[in-house]
Symmetry: C2
Subunit: 245 residues, 2 copies
DNA sequence: AATACCAAAACTGTATACATGATTGACGGA
DNA sequence: TCCGTCAATCATGTATACAGTTTTGGTATT
């Protein structure tokens, strides 16, 4: 259609990173003009970028309104994690079926990179690599569509974690769990690998929704988003400059 | 972002239908001008429609080339069915967990509609309703994301069926299987429901890829697409008129 | 001090223009 | 007869213009 224009990709990637690293807080306005000016492209292209980000769940764009950084609700968060668990299990299953020795090394490489990044205190990088592990796993399943879906799910989980997670608890303690999963994969123990993966997802999910009362979801939803909105009210307004009074 | 303009939705739906009913054969060119002229809208909007169709896997759009109706490869078909099986199982599981008596009636209503359509020999309608059954099931799971993914998967399966399936074998014999699945859901028998669903998917999948030799996929892929291209070469060129010599 | 109203400003929706890259078909050479 | 070359045509990539809607901030009113 249009995608592989380098500028477009750059803008997309930049916005995605900025959102996931919480440099752009949920609710922040994303006016087409301003983004276009910043990346040196016209609104036409910005629109395409925003549309893609919207389809990935990182941006909310209602008609005739300025697009904003997505504010995932708890209900959405629950859905995302639920589907992700299912697809992770399927990925594990397929990877074991199509296992090759090189897979183990590949995954271990990622875990090592993540550890290294964490030691360098590059939390954002480590977080990204933590997600990358799961995307790579899906890729090794040999199913391109599964990889695409997993990629989208991991991204959305990252945003959820950024929004609802406790501030500095970025994914961490993950590495050990990843290592165990690799061991189970290598042993061809599908049941164990899936169980481990499920436990791992629980860890991540619990970290994400640390204060969720499953019963009062409806109200909880509102309050949680409200809290987010307040918190971001007059700190860091990176794109949309507040003009002088 | 842009979507809910009625014209845009109409064009999207029209093209989707036309593709799924094979009125637009795989490989048919879809020039922005012509589509725009037909629906009375500018290329700008057509572009958005084509981008969406591309993301749904119904259209192939490589840069600087005229978009064409997608020609799914056997590899893609395999991926789609594989993921779909996984998500169908998850949907069944969740629906049983959240079962309400009204669900049964709702699903049975769809099956009846499908039967009725088939008796009226409205095969396309019946086929659509057959797919609708699965989308509705996903919706009943209460997971919006799962519903979205299922919807996309059902659509893509329809195209695959249209491309690789034997001409007049539209989904049919499905109804009985759907009825059995409903019975298992109602009984709360997850294992049986999933087994039935899996068998059902096998039926559909077998009907779709009736002549697939799993070993020679690479070559088979090419030849199958070649056959498709030949078949559609000079019949029905609905959008792109062949100009007089 | 809070509220309702109104005009200016901020943005989006959509069409269109211009530049550039693909495709096609005719023509000429081997 | 078969290729290869080249220009005309077709169609996309991107920017921009203009119209219409939402948002905002100030002022008058209660």
């Amino acid at each position: 259609m249009t995608r592989p224009s380098p500028r477009t990709d750059i803008a997309h990637e930049a916005l995605k990173q900025a959102i996931l690293e919480r440099a752009l807080q949920p609710g922040t306005k994303l006016p087409e003009d301003e983004i276009g000016a910043h990346f040196g492209m016209s609104r036409t292209l910005v629109r395409a970028v925003l549309a893609k980000l919207q389809s990935e769940g990182l941006v909310d764009a209602r008609p005739k309104r300025t697009a904003i950084v997505a504010q995932p609700t708890l209900a959405e968060a629950r859905d995302v994690f639920e589907v992700r668990r299912g697809l992770e299990a399927q990925a594990v299953d397929l990877v074991i079926k199509r296992w090759k020795p090189s897979f183990g090394a590949e995954l271990e490489g990622l875990v090592r990179e993540e550890d290294a990044a964490r030691e360098r205190h590059e939390e954002h990088v480590a977080g990204r690599l933590g997600g990358e592990f799961h995307i790579r796993l899906a890729k090794l399943s040999g199913n391109v569509l599964l990889e695409r879906y997993m990629s989208e799910l991991v991204t959305r989980c990252s945003l959820i974690l950024a929004v609802y997670g406790s501030p500095h608890s970025h994914d961490h303690s993950g590495p050990n769990e990843h290592i165990e999963i690799i061991a189970a994969l290598r042993a061809g123990d599908a049941a164990r690998a899936i169980a481990l993966m499920d436990a791992h997802m629980s860890t991540v999910e619990r970290r994400a929704m640390h204060d969720t009362d499953p019963a009062g979801a409806a109200l909880g939803d509102v309050l949680a988003r409200y809290a987010v909105a307040i918190a971001g009210r007059d700190s860091a307004i990176p794109l949309k400059q507040k003009r002088a009074k």
